[in-house]
Symmetry: none
Subunit: 192 residues, 4 copies
């Protein structure tokens, strides 16, 4: 407390870097966000960033690892359940929750696909998508129903951001998005 100009910088710097980085990455994109910018916001030198992370990409990787753990667990759980509609719905419900806990990261992923594709997190992300897709779709579903499942996924990822201009409270939007996704998956499940 008090007005010491230079507080002793406790052990939270790593976390603060992640916070600022995620904010900037998701606002401006990965390439357009320079380490200088991140450092300046934190009133730290660039070299300090390199004390905590080996490379720029490493910052992103760390964010991804920290924020997508719940999804990993969810997918692992889902993959072991029976392929029933109930399972699928439960997965969607929980996925929706997880998403809103890591919204900025997913906005980032959505809007920086070209960049992310070349990065190691791109692979991880793609694998997750495929795993989810395999949970939602029936083994020999016709093309149309496969599209429905993909569409459900996209709707959940992009829906929130696309609805930013639409008036209404965020929680209601989330429910609406979830409902449409559930619907699509239900149709695909029935149509098999």
């Amino acid at each position: 407390m008090g007005s010491s100009k230079q507080q002793p910088r406790r052990g939270n710097t790593r976390q603060r870097i992640q916070d600022v980085a995620l904010e900037l990455f998701s606002e401006q994109g990965y390439e357009k966000t320079s380490l200088r910018e991140i450092a300046e916001r934190l009133e730290v030198t660039k070299a300090a960033l390199y004390y905590h992370f080996k490379t720029k990409e490493d910052i992103l990787v760390s964010l991804f690892e920290d924020l997508t753990r719940p999804m990993d667990e969810l997918i692992a759980w889902g993959a072991e359940q029976p392929h029933s509609l109930e399972t699928k719905q439960e997965v969607l419900r929980r996925y929706s929750d997880a998403l809103s806990g890591a919204a900025p990261l997913f906005r980032f992923m959505q809007e920086n696909q070209a960049t992310v594709r070349e990065l190691s997190v791109g692979d991880a992300f793609k694998k997750r998508m495929i795993a989810l897709f395999d949970i939602l779709k029936e083994p020999d579903a016709p093309l149309t129903d496969q599209v429905r499942c993909v569409s459900a996924l996209f709707t959940m990822h992009a829906g929130m951001f696309a609805l930013q201009d639409v008036e209404g409270d965020p929680e209601e939007k989330r429910k609406a998005v979830l409902e449409v996704a559930m619907d699509l998956v239900a149709q695909a499940h029935g149509g098999a």
Copy 2:
């Protein structure tokens, strides 16, 4: 004619720049594609690009303008039709055609949203999306149906790329995507 060793290279350089640029932009992203790279592929100097285009962004703008004209016309037409289901379906059908004629550009738009948002084409793109959305949705549609319309749009844009790993012939995929989009819009129309 005469004894030119080089390829004919008529007044088509501008076009060739656009072709290569679109290919690279959509493959690697806008920021990761340098003018040097474009120039090298064309076996031309960077300075030559500046004879044909004022800036890097200008290349992108020109691509956008040239390739989205059909959509502009479609939207203008659609906005004047009655808000019937038939109109909406007709718009979706024609939009699907237009999309497959400019697939790389749309892939680019989809995968570089963060970049594009700051550029002038970002605005134009967003306006188009909103215009389309206004054609598809009923004026006072409930949130869920609005999501369905947004979802239909996203499905069309992203569907093709998302289905790259799924086996099947492209034209059939396109039809499947269109069918799901039509379905969503029909539900939204009926549910109003």
Copy 3:
């Protein structure tokens, strides 16, 4: 003519970069010479260096290629001659001439072996040494005579610099160095 501050910079920049680089590399070493330093001496920006050379190492490579051509030819010639003492002496004589035409480069090579070993020119240099060694030594020479040949080579490379503190005219020093080298090789030739 006259005192224009900024002469039009003719097509000699590449050459001037090489000159300055060689001077600095040989004075201070490769790692301790920064591109900033080279650029400043030439009153040019760092980026200009990159117009003419792809990397820092490339500058060195170009120097090596340009300055060691005569040696390559000499070695190629020597390899085809009979293994007589006359051949060996002729090679030494001509090598001594070639060396004094590229003295700064060889001083650099001598004094930056650790650095150069990791660089592509290191390999080229080593190969040349081995080729020369093979010309000078008899196929089954005893170890001592092999050492004499190596020693002759080293004497020629390092001799000039090591004698900097000794008083005397450079041309005479060169002759003395050559004489000792010739002697060593003659002993080795006779001793086989």
Copy 4:
């Protein structure tokens, strides 16, 4: 003793730093070896190095001082002896022994002359060379014989490394090198 998981790590850290540093310096060169690298190999932090040595250069200086003491003594002894051939030969013999006890350091000195020249050890090394040279050569020896003495020195320093590719057992190589050096000095002594 006790249940320490780590290696004993007594008060020998200073020594271990020197060992690793010498290994890396001689393998990669002084500039290319960073303190981070040394610290990592020792599983210690960079700051720990600064507890034992004031600067990076200090590590090198300490190595030099510790490893060249025998030579200092040898040179001091030699300077007081009569300038006879026997003295010279004795000096060479003992120098050869001393060299093989500190081979990596001398390899380092040989291969990093450019770097070392600016450092304090450079001076010390040069002074030693001159002192040795003064022992080996006759006061008014003709240029050629001076070259022979320099050459003898170079042969001993560089010979071992240059012969790495030649087959044969190290101890025999050392003897061959010594023999050639003795020969050169004998010629110089006789020729005066």
